[in-house]
Amino acid sequence: MRFFRFGPEFRPAWRLGIADIIILLALLGVLYVGVRMAISAPAIISGPKISLSFWALPWYTLLSVGRMFAAYILSLLFTLIYGYTAAHNRTAEKVLMPLLDVLQSVPILSFLPVVLLSLSSVLPAGLAAELAAIALIFTSQAWNMTYSFFQSIRTVPRELQEASAVFRLGPWLQFRKVELPFAAVGLIWNSIMSWAGGWFFLMASEIFTVGERDFRLPGIGAYLQTAASEGNANAIIAGIITLIATIVVLDRVVWRPILAWAEKFKVETVTGEKMPSSMVYDLLSRSWIFEKFIYRGVDPLLEWIDDRMARGRTRSLAYSSPSLRRSRYFCLWILGITLGLFSAWGAYRTVSMLILLETQDWLAIGLGTFATFLRVAASLFLALVWTVPTGVAIGTNRRLADLLQPIVQIAASVPATALFPVLLMGLAQKPGGMNIAAILLMLMGSQWYLLFNTIAGTTAIPQDLRHTTALLRLSRRERWKNLILPALFPYLVTGSITATGGAWNASIVAEHAQFGGHTHTTTGIGSLIAMATARGNYPLLLASTIALVLVVVAINRFFWSRLYRVAEERYRME
């Protein structure tokens, strides 16, 4: 199975530490600044005119893919710089890693309204929406990549590090010849996962509209939404085919060759593991022109860069001196104090804005959060009900796996948010339809993580355990109770963490939609955020965004990480 690598790396922290609280407060500060700026956002924003002509599709596709690439490049740069700094500087790590931890568990999409409004107060609406989309995709992509890169640098085998030191590679050569190659495979897998996740957010931000403020962006997501809104079946089909084709082609032309190339960076090859192969890669590596290009162009360029970088800075051979350490501590203190002051200011201003809210607003927030929570739980339940049996079946049956794998891959590659307008087309008019549509969107966004994790968990059950169970002639019920469910438990926990994260995110687009000239809403924290954005009720916007963030972080910390710990300790296969 490809496309996803079974959920992002999840690093559970067992309790809410002081660092988390400071970071959350600082996040409050940022949110507050955003909302302050949002107040001066224009009240009416007219969106772009979306053409449903088939000839517009290539152009829209290009725009969407362009946004994806811009965000990915940004994520990659961020990953390299942030991960490198955190891995090499213990002082920086103390600040950067907890921050990453919180950012990873925050529902990113809840920031979309604040980001959109604050950017459009200073920039032309179109540009603001572009930047907000890129920023949003970036925030969905960067964290797991960064974490993987950090983790890789930290786990470079000790003897390789020592060899680098003994042979005096210096920081640059060590980065290029040791750390980057060692991190490559993990980074590429995480990139692929981030890329797939990015489509979800791209589609969401391309179709975002609240009240008189139309933040849509010309792109394939907006095309699909307009097509669904006008009931144009031909355009819907054309749009979906284009989207799937784009995703598949990018996978074949970009990601697969990179994966095949990265094979050589694997430290050890597990026998029996299928090597990623790629026709494009084989073609390129056989091509004479490409070889010449590498030999004459890339190699000398790298040589030149290595030469320059190595000359500029040779690693000091001496151990770090106490005075250097003192100055590092000094920097940490300055940083800590600044962050602390900003957090305190943010908390103060936030509270003074939140005071403006009435009791009924708080009741609405509580009710909305609860309603969304129920929806998330329902979607998780539904996802588990169908993915666990299916995943176990695929994982144990080779023939079924070969049959279903391509279908599942393509189905999983379609971002749920792109299909949402199509869902609405069928459901919006029915009683309770919006509610069902919201749960379905959450389900579509989250089920694949669970399915892939179940498959991975099933295939990881050791052969001898399976044989023993067969020899014992356990009944189906006993087999599930004693073998399959315990073996799957850690995988289901990691899958559920990712899945519920996706579901909370989906609530922002799922609970409030403008469709066919009507506004459809259902009770929930997502619709509350959307409504506050539409009406310009900034205290409510701030309060509900904070509420959503806090609830999700709290659930992660107090519920999922506990389960995760149980999974780690009790149900790990050794």
């Binding site: 085998p157 060899a163 042979f167 050589k264 051979l317």
Partner: protein
């Protein structure tokens, strides 16, 4: 306290003066190296020999400048060392080749780091790969090579930077017997033939034979704390033959130095926590001890030369010594002049039934204060269950970082003897 070490002399390539390596501080302190003094002259091949955990690899890293001593000074050519030693290099036990670079790129990288221009480093790398006998494998990746060939790359890479001091960290222990033997011979040929510009070799090993085969001088180390316990000059002419009487004599002498030290101390049973001198339980599962006793009972008189016995069991000295230590601790075996002796008790054990063995083990390990203390604590408790944390807290002042490991060993032994056991669900110890 530290003895007064002589001042560095000019002909010394390397001198260590009162080197200590201490981890942690206060009651959690662990002494990895204690007062190490030694010197290496130009032209010498020196071996650091000792069991695992004696700090010999740490010492090698301090000499190469990868690690820093907690106190004491490393002098290189009379100058105190303050960082990575630019004249030394290491050949690693696990090769430490970059898996994504082919043989030639691996060797070249060491030269590239020194700013050697592309053409020069290319021809030099090819020449070195040729020297170690790997020509034709320049473009192979490490994963395509056997262990012996990988280590040859390791040697070629180390020689590329023309070190004065070549440090070898158990370079043959990850290889199969034949490759190791071949590579040893090739290294000695290069070294004795002076075809490499290396001035001195320092090799870390736990293999006594290997040390006697190669070194001019053997420095024997012991653990808890890591320290030097003796020094043996080898002084045999090369090539050395394992069958020679002179060679055997030195091997026995080295055995007496290394094994003798561990085993006399093992007589001590120690005290229960907080009451004085403690004793660490050796890292030996008791069923391994049972196997050892059975094997020993088959020998005539229940007596065997440790060195040959290890060979007959196909065991590394490192793995065998803790089992012997456990046997001594329980009174089943004795060590005499490099020989292993089965006691009366040991013979009785070897001949006993499964049930009889359990009872014997139970009564023997209850003599150990730490075991009897755990047992009595559990008996005193109302429901005869006590949290693991309780024991850890009381053992910690004595065992520091090793507490968890020690308690786990005690539980393991207690379980074997069916005295007490551990409940993983509640993290409690309970009486069987």
């Amino acid at each position: 306290m530290a003895s007064t070490a002589p001042l560095p002399e000019p002909e010394d390539l390397l001198q260590l003066q009162n080197i200590y390596k201490i981890y942690g501080s206060g009651p959690r302190q662990f002494v990895a190296l204690q007062d190490i003094n030694m010197r290496i002259k130009a032209g010498e091949f020196v071996c650091l020999l000792g069991p695992s955990g004696c700090g010999k690899s740490t010492l090698l890293r301090i000499i190469a400048g990868l690690d820093r001593a907690s106190s004491g000074t490393v002098y290189y050519r009379g100058q105190p060392l303050t960082g990575i030693n630019p004249h030394a290099t290491i050949v690693f036990q696990t090769f430490a080749l970059y898996p994504w670079l082919n043989v030639q790129e691996n060797v070249e990288l060491a030269l590239k780091a020194r700013g050697v221009p592309k053409e020069v480093r290319k021809s030099k790398a090819i020449q070195l790969i040729d020297t170690v006998g790997l020509d034709g494998f320049e473009s192979a990746y490490p994963r395509e090579l056997s262990g012996g060939m990988r280590q040859k790359v390791g040697f070629a890479r180390a020689m590329a930077v023309e070190p004065e001091l070549l440090c070898l960290d158990e370079p043959f222990s990850a290889l199969d017997v034949l490759s190791a033997e071949a590579l040893r011979g090739e290294l000695m040929e290069l070294w004795l033939g002076k075809s490499i510009p290396t001035q001195a070799i320092l090799m870390v090993t736990h293999n006594i034979e290997e040390a006697v085969l190669m070194a001019d001088r053997i420095i024997a180390m012991e653990k808890d704390p890591g320290r030097i316990v003796g020094e043996i000059s080898v002084g045999l002419r090369h090539p050395r033959k394992r069958k020679d009487a002179a060679y055997q004599l030195i091997v026995d002498k080295v055995y007496a130095t290394v094994a003798g030290k561990t085993l006399t101390e093992a007589e001590e049973l120690g005290q229960e926590p907080g009451k004085g001198r403690i004793r660490r339980l050796p890292a030996a599962p008791l069923n391994a001890l049972a196997g050892l006793l059975e094997k020993l009972a088959e020998e005539s008189d229940g007596r065997a030369d440790i060195y040959r016995f290890a060979e007959a069991l196909a065991m590394e000295l490192d793995d065998l010594l803790p089992v012997i230590e456990a046997g001594e601790l329980l009174g089943f075996v004795k060590v005499l002049e490099g020989d292993l002796l089965l006691t009366e008790l040991g013979r009785a054990y070897a001949e006993a039934s499964v049930l009889g063995r359990k009872e014997m083990i139970a009564s023997r390990i209850l003599r150990l204060p730490i075991i009897s203390w755990i047992y009595e604590t559990l008996q005193r408790d109302d429901d005869q269950r006590v949290a693991k944390e309780y024991f850890l807290d009381r053992l910690r002042p004595d065992f520091h970082d090793h507490t968890e490991k020690q308690l786990d060993r005690a539980i393991n032994w207690g379980r074997f003897a069916e005295l007490f056991a551990f409940d993983d669900n509640t993290d409690e110890l309970y009486l069987e």
